[in-house]
């Protein structure tokens, strides 16, 4: 920005205007950064947990609903690391389906085969609970799920719930 003529240069007013503009601009940038930082929880963590939680509830309640009967021997009810195993009729043959939680990750397996993870590693499943509800005519399962994740305010927990009556349990 320097010129060879020493008489030329920035006037004081130009400098003041420049510095003022720079201050305003940096102020705006700082505000934007602060806003983003404050919204981080809303932007990433919470919607992600919601999506995962709602998808898990949807999947598990629908699978249970299509089930014939609950395998009460291989299931674990009323604990935070519950297991649900049930038989479903599919194309004339019986399929044993199993949902359980291992190291805070929801797993699913069919007929004792290889387990598939249904939830991401960084969302800790702190509650995975099934309650068996029986009426004189039908069998139902209430499903409670809790996801734990880190935010700048510490650990946050979000609950999700589903309920399904086994359609084939009606006599």
């Amino acid at each position: 920005m320097k010129t060879k003529q020493n008489q030329k240069g920035f006037t004081l007013i130009e400098l003041v205007v420049y510095v003022a503009g720079l201050v305003i601009l940096s102020g705006v940038m700082v505000l934007i950064i602060i806003q983003f930082y404050m919204l981080y929880k809303e932007i990433i963590a919470v919607p992600r947990a919601d999506r995962t939680g709602l998808t898990l509830v949807d999947r598990i309640t629908k699978e249970i609903r299509s089930g014939d009967q609950i395998d009460t021997l291989n299931s674990q009810f009323n604990t935070t690391d519950g297991i649900i195993e049930f038989d479903s009729e599919e194309n004339g043959s019986t399929v044993a389906r199993r949902f359980y939680v291992e190291n805070g990750i929801v797993k699913f397996s069919e007929n004792g085969g290889t387990a598939v993870s249904l939830s991401p590693k960084d969302l800790y499943v702190s509650n995975f609970q099934f309650k068996l509800v029986s009426t004189s005519v039908s069998q139902a399962v209430r499903f409670d799920l809790e996801l734990q994740f880190m935010t700048r305010n510490g650990t946050e927990t979000k609950p999700y719930t589903g309920f399904s009556i086994l359609r084939e349990s009606y006599e």
Binding site: Y18, G21, L39, L54, V137, S138, G162
Partner: protein
């Protein structure tokens, strides 16, 4: 930038450039905010569908468990909500607010059947069937969003 030392960026050019950058940054932030609102709203709608689903399932459970005690004993036209009491679902007139300010309500009404036993607007009241209107509502932009559905509950197990 030219080799001539007399040339350079004037303060006006810098201000204009800074203004363009500022305007585009503000535009990007506004676009991100719109996206976030859509994601938020979308998630609430998915949640509402699942709440509706759970409510319908709970009503069916109550029919299975005892139509008379759970459902027939309720006042027609009153607003109820469902809640889990630890071992089963119950209906209550108190307001229960779920996360994100979501609420769900169930209102029962009677139905009429004509001479051919078909549901119609006139005829004799069916004592064993009730219509339940389930409504899920949640706040969004100073107003309430609503998802509603209705189902018929028949005392098919005569309990």
């Amino acid at each position: 930038m030219t080799p001539s030392f007399k040339k350079g960026m004037s303060i006006v050019e810098i201000i204009v450039a800074a203004a363009i950058i500022a305007v585009s940054v503000i535009g990007i932030v506004a676009a991100i905010q719109v996206y976030l609102k859509v994601v938020y709203q979308n998630t609430r709608e998915t949640q509402a569908v699942l709440l509706l689903d759970e409510t319908a399932e709970a009503l069916q459970y109550m029919r299975d468990d005892g139509f008379g005690a759970h459902i027939e004993s309720k006042t027609l036209g009153d607003t109820y909500t469902i809640y889990w009491d630890g071992s089963g679902y119950e209906l209550s007139t108190s307001t229960i607010t779920l996360p994100y300010g979501m609420t769900r309500s169930v209102v029962f009404s009677s139905i009429k059947r004509d001479g051919n036993d078909q549901i119609s607007s006139s005829g004799s009241t069916d004592e064993n069937t009730l219509k339940a209107v389930i409504t899920i509502s949640w706040p969004y932009k100073e107003e309430m969003k609503i998802l509603s559905s209705e189902m018929l509950i028949h005392d098919m197990y005569e309990n």
